[in-house]
C-alpha cells in the first residue's frame, strides 16, 4: 500500500518533466545577430541562443513568420534592440507567442536601446519626415561603447532570469568587459586617422559609429529615413559634394549597394560596405570581428586624403 507521499510524488513526476527542459539551458531569442552574439558571450554553455534575423535582412522589415512565433513561444528571454526598430513585427510575434514571460515589461523582455543614450531623437514627430523613430535612432550597435553598456545590463538580466547561475553570469560578464575594454583601447587608437572625416551614408544607420569615431555625416542617400534613394536626390547629393568633399560613402551589408556604388563612381570616392552586425561580412564573425572588420574597411577606404 502506497502512502500519500508516494502518490503525490508520482502525480508530481510528470510536472517535473515539464520544468526540466527549461532548466537544461536558458532559451534566448535574439532579434538581431549582434544581441545573439552578445548573449552567447555572456551566457556561454548556460544559454541556447537563436537569432530571428540575419545580417542580410533589413531589421525594420521582418515578418512574424511561423518559425519565429514558435521560437518566441519557447523562449525564456527575448533580447531585442527596441526603440521601435522591430515595431513592424515584434508586437505581433509576442502577442501570438502565448508566452507570458517575454511580454513587454516582464524580465524576459530585454530591449538594448533602453540602456544607452540615444541620438537623433526627433524634435518633431511627423511621418512627412519619413520612418522616424520617436525614441531616437535605433542602430545603437555601431558604437562599441554602447555594446559595453548593453553587456552590463544584459549580464544583470541573465542573472535575474536564471538566478541559479548568477555567479557564473557575473564571472562571464567581468571577463567579457575586460576583453572589450582592451579592444576598445586598441580600436580607438586604430581609428585616430578617421577623426573628422566627412562621409556620406546610404541610410541613417551609422550615427553612433560617427559619434564614436568623430566622423561627420554630410549627406544621406535616402531622401528621408526608410525611403529608397531617388535619382533626383542622388544628383542633389552629388552636387552638394562639390562644395563639401567627402572621403567615402557607407552602406550596410543588408542594403542594395547600387545607390552607394553610383555615388562612388560619379563622385570618385570609395563605397564602403559596413558589416553592420555580426555576420554582415566574412570578417565579422563575432562582436570583436564586427569592429575589427568595420575599422579595417573604413581605414582602407579613406584614412587620409
Amino acid at each position: 500500500m502506497m502512502n500519500r507521499k508516494t502518490v503525490l510524488a508520482l502525480l508530481a513526476a510528470p510536472l517535473l518533466l515539464l520544468t526540466l527542459p527549461a532548466q537544461a539551458a536558458l532559451r534566448i531569442l535574439a532579434c538581431e545577430p549582434e544581441w545573439g552574439a552578445l548573449a552567447q558571450e555572456l551566457g556561454g554553455d548556460l544559454v541556447e541562443v537563436s537569432v530571428a534575423t540575419s545580417a542580410l535582412q533589413d531589421p525594420h522589415q521582418i515578418q512574424a513568420k511561423p518559425s519565429l512565433i514558435a521560437r518566441a513561444r519557447n523562449a525564456d528571454l527575448v533580447v531585442c534592440t527596441g526603440a521601435e526598430l522591430e515595431i513592424g513585427w515584434l508586437p505581433v510575434l509576442l502577442q501570438q507567442s502565448g508566452n507570458a514571460k517575454v511580454q513587454p515589461g516582464q524580465v524576459g523582455n530585454f530591449a538594448a536601446a533602453d540602456f544607452v543614450r540615444k541620438l537623433d531623437i526627433p524634435s518633431q514627430l511627423d511621418r512627412s519626415q519619413g520612418d522616424v523613430h520617436a525614441a531616437g535612432n535605433p542602430h545603437i550597435q555601431t558604437d562599441p561603447r554602447n555594446i559595453a553598456q548593453v553587456a552590463t545590463a544584459l549580464g544583470a538580466r541573465l542573472a535575474q532570469v536564471d538566478a541559479a547561475h548568477a555567479g557564473q553570469y557575473a564571472q562571464r560578464l567581468k571577463d567579457f568587459s575586460q576583453r572589450w575594454q582592451q579592444a576598445l583601447v586598441r580600436w580607438s587608437a586604430q581609428a585616430a586617422p578617421l577623426k573628422g572625416a566627412a562621409v556620406v551614408s546610404q541610410h541613417k544607420a551609422f550615427v553612433y559609429l560617427y559619434d564614436w569615431l568623430g566622423m561627420k555625416e554630410v549627406a544621406v542617400l535616402e531622401p528621408k529615413p526608410g525611403v529608397e534613394p531617388t535619382a533626383s536626390h542622388l544628383q542633389e547629393v552629388l552636387a552638394s559634394l562639390k562644395s563639401v568633399p567627402v572621403r567615402m560613402v557607407l552602406y550596410s551589408a543588408y542594403q542594395d549597394p547600387k545607390p552607394s556604388e553610383w555615388l562612388s563612381k560619379n563622385a570618385n570616392i570609395p563605397a564602403v560596405k559596413i558589416p553592420f552586425t555580426v555576420g554582415g561580412t566574412d570578417g565579422a564573425k563575432d562582436l570583436f570581428g564586427l569592429f575589427d572588420d568595420t575599422l579595417a574597411r573604413l581605414l582602407a577606404a579613406g584614412a587620409k586624403k
Binding site: A64, K65, I69, R73, A100, D114, F115, A148, Q149
Partner: protein, 466 residues
Amino acid sequence: MRKLLSASIALALSVPICASAATEPPTASEIQLLRQEIDAMRASYEARLQAMEQRLLAAERGAVPAVATTADAASTPPSVAAPTATASVGGANAFNPAMSLILSGGYTRTSQDPASYNITGFQLPTDTNAGPGSRGFSLAESELGLAANIDPWLRGAANISLHPDDTVSVEEAFIQTTSLSNGLSLKAGRFFSGVGYLNSQHAHTWDFVDNPLAYQAFLGTQYGDDGVQLHWLAPTDQYIELGAELGRGRSFPGSDTGRNGAGMSALTLHTGGDVGDSHNWRAGVSLLTAQATDQSLATVDATSGTVINSAFTGNTRVWVLDGVWKWAPNGNATRTNFKLQGEYLQSTRNGNLTYDPDTANLSGAYSTEQSGWYLQGVYQFMPSWRVGLRAERLNPGSTDYAINTASFAGSGYQPSKNTLMFDFNPSEFSRIRLQLAQDKSRQGLTDKQVFLQYQMSLGAHGAHSY
C-alpha cells in the same frame, strides 16, 4: 549651427582682407598670419560650443558631470552610468491607446451593373456585400483602430469601420489575454474567425481590392462573430497552432437568432516553418460550423434573369484548406519578394429551404455541397512596386432541393474570375493600386472591372500578421 558660425566669422574677416587687397597686395606671411588667427578663433569657438553642448547634455541627463564624457573616449560610453528605461512623462494622455486610421477610396468601372451582381448557382444572403461595390468614385471602408494593454493580464483592441454610406459598424472589438502561459491565449468579444488564411486579415492588408469569390459565396465575404477564441501553440520547434472558437453565429453562413447556445463553432489547425533562409510557409485546415434559422437568401435564374428568394434553416459546415508560401532572397524582402497563396473551401448545407417565402412559401428538405478555390501570386519586382495575378473558380457541386427541384433548375455553370493587380507603395504607410478583373460570376455575362484604389495608414505603426 557651428558651421554657420565659423563660416560667418570667416566671411566677416574676409571683407577687410579684400578691401586691403585692393590697395596693396598682402605678403605671404601676412596671409599666413591671418589664416592662423582665423584658425585660432574657429578653434576657440568650436571648443566653447562643444563645452556648451556638453553642459546642455549633462543638464538633460541630470547632474552627470560633463568631464566623464570628454575624459577618455576609449574607456566608457559617451554618456550616463547605466541608465534604466525611462518612460516619457505625459500626464493622463500618456495612457491613451495606440490609434490608427486607415483611409481608403477609389474609382470603380464595371461593364455590368453591380446592382444586379450575383453568382450563378449560389445562394447568397440578401444583405451580402459581394461583388464589385458601387461604380464611379467612392470612399471605401475607412477604419479606426484602437489598441492598448488593459492591465498586466489583458490587452484590448477595437476596429471601428466607417462605411461610405455614412454608417458605422464594429468590425472587431475584443479583449485578449497576455499572461496565460504554455502557449495559450484567449480572446473574447467580436473578432474575425481564424479559419483559413485570409479570413482574419483586415481589408487594408489584402493583396487585391476584393476577397476571392469562394469567400463571398461561402463565408459572407469574411466571417466575423461575437464569441470566444482559444489558441494554443505547441511547445515544439515546428510551429503548430490549434484554435477553437465558439460564437453567436450572427452572420452568414449562420444567422442571428435568440438562442441561448452557440450558433457557430470553429476548429483550426495551422503549421509552418522555414526552408533555408529564403523560403517560409504556413498551411492549415479549418472547419467552421454554423446554424441558421430563416436565413433569407437570393439567387438569380441565369436563363430568365428573375430573382428567386428563399429562406434556409439548418446547419452549414465549411472546410477550408489554406496554404501560403513566401520567398525573398536571403529573407530580405525589401527589394524583391514573392508570395504564393491559395485556399480551397467546401461548404455543405443541410436543412430546410423555403422557396419564395413571401408568396409561394413552399418548404422542403435541402442539402447542398459546393466548393471553390483561388490561387494567387504577388511579386515585388523592385522596391515599392508589386504585380499580382489571381485565378479562381467555383464548383456548384450537387444540390438536392427535394420538392423545390423544379424551381431551382441548375445549369452546372462554374463561375470563374481572373484578376491582375499592380500596386505602388511610396512608403509602408501608403499604397495606390490598379486592379483589372474579368469576372464571370454570372452565366453568359463577362464583367470587365477596373479598380483604382488608395489605401493609407495614419497614426500608430501597425504590426501585421504573417
